[in-house]
Amino acid sequence: MNRAGPGAGHWRWQRLALNVLAILLAVLAWHGAALWKDNLLIFPTPLTCLSALGDVLSDPERRDQLLITLRRVVVGFALGSALGVAVGGLIGSVRSVALTLEPVVHFLRSVTPVAWIVPATIWLGVGEGSLRFIVVYATVFPVAINTLTGLTQVPVNKVRMARTFGASRLRIHASIVLPSAVPYIVTGMRLSLGYAFMSVVAAEMVAGRDGIGFLIYDSRIFFDTATMFAGILLLGAAGLLADRVFSVVTHRGLARFYAGQVNT
């Protein structure tokens, strides 16, 4: 973990300045490209999109679309993570389950969640059920596989220590192997959070009647490219913010599970 040393404040400002510079350059390139293309309908300038974003945020009905999508992300992510820890934990703990389920899990995780949208709508209809299924599908496998990996990284000396005290296999598993896997589980969850944002938008376009994905898709009818970009900006900002919050909260809250990893 990088604890702030002396001079860290200086670095912080330098990093922030570089970040702002990168964003400015991107916006400038975008603006240049839009001017060169010279067709606001096909390729709006950053300013047009920003004003469209302002329109979306000041319209209560459209502003709610962001909350609807965020709720789907949070609920699907929570369910998928819980299921992922359970499945990965079971595969990682019981050998017979591993032999049975592991190939199936590796098959399923290779199929993009997007491919399931259409079958999902046939089974679960257009709406919340299908959307939840897709987000859970997208989030369950990274968590399951990282949990599984964490459980196979046996902390040798911790387990040896427990064995000198005659600890049972169950106690060793519950009080040493599982807590040691926490950093792996958190890494899987962080990946999944990103996948939740990606999959929910695709699902909303095909199987949804609201949400940011639907807003983007719906804008095509009016050829409202500026609003499409406004939706993309919202998704990017929300995803970035969610990732930062998740990372800070887990590293602060679970610091003790990370400590000692760098030691012998």
């Binding site: 064995r163 005659g166 040493i176 807590p179 012998t264």
Partner: protein, 274 residues
């Protein structure tokens, strides 16, 4: 629960307690053994130091006594009974700090063994408090391992071993990663602690001075692979021992000579350890 082992004898006896009998060890498929024909007896209540260069198989011997690994040939017994696996009668203090559970505070780390042994809660509380006082960590009991210095972490390990009252302590270079000052402090603390408890200790180090401060007897290992026990030397220095004393310096030279001789032994030499 087994009653606490309190050896009333003031001095180590001559009785063999842990017997390492003609042990060789090789990893499966490896042509070169790590240990060859090591025989050694630990007497009840003695502080035995195994001294040797890095990579000579000292830790391998300790792992066999702890029961983590089994000898390829030969046998190890304790109190006449063969050692077949790890057990609460042999507490281990590991080389690094990675045996501490980072998600538990100092108190809970020390209590871990008692919980595994299903000691009643009141008894656990009493023993943990006592052990923490012994290693002077009672003020740090709420802290987590990553908040402690290297020396404090090793004291947590010592408390964790003391709390279960194991008759044998196996210590694998426990002070190797510490700065010189902390190391000498902990050496003196351990010497005092051992004198009060009279447990049997197998202590591994490559530091001659450490061996002289702590050990009743010092076993000098040859370099690996196929390491042997070259010789066992008595350490008659009176306790508490002073690093500056003339006798200390003299014995230091003797041990150093033995270590040098052990390093330069011809590969085929088959002289049985004395």
């Amino acid at each position: 629960m087994t009653p606490p082992i309190t050896d009333s004898r003031p001095r180590p006896s001559d009785e063999a307690f842990v017997v390492i009998d003609d042990v060789s060890f090789a990893y499966p498929g490896s042509p070169q053994p790590i240990l060859r024909d090591v025989s050694l007896e630990l007497r009840r209540g003695e502080f035995f130091v195994l001294l040797g260069p890095s990579g000579c198989g000292k830790t391998t011997i300790l792992n066999q006594v702890a029961g983590f690994e089994r000898p390829t040939t030969g046998s190890i017994s304790m109190d006449g009974k063969p050692i077949t696996g790890p057990g609460p009668d042999r507490a281990v203090i590991f080389q690094g700090d990675d045996s501490l559970l980072g998600w538990l505070n100092v108190r809970d780390n020390v209590e871990f063994g008692l919980r595994a042994l299903r000691t009643p809660a009141a008894e656990r509380t009493r023993r943990v408090r006592q052990a923490l006082e012994t290693v002077e960590l009672d003020r740090q009991q709420g802290k987590f391992p990553h908040e402690l210095s290297g020396g404090m972490k090793q004291r947590v390990q010592i408390a964790r071993a003391l709390v279960v009252d194991a008759p044998v302590l196996l210590m694998d270079e426990p002070f190797g990663a510490l700065d010189a000052q902390t190391r000498t402090t902990l050496q003196d603390a351990l010497a005092g602690l051992w004198e009060q408890s009279q447990r049997t200790v197998l202590f591994i180090t490559h530091d001659i001075s450490e061996a002289l401060i702590l050990g009743d007897r010092i076993g000098v290992m040859t370099s690996g692979p196929a390491a042997r026990l070259q010789t066992v030397m008595d350490n008659p220095l009176p306790r508490p021992r002073a690093r500056g004393a003339a006798e200390f310096a003299e014995l230091y030279r003797e041990v150093e000579e033995a270590v040098t001789a052990a390093k330069s032994r011809p590969p085929a030499a088959a002289g049985e350890p004395g």
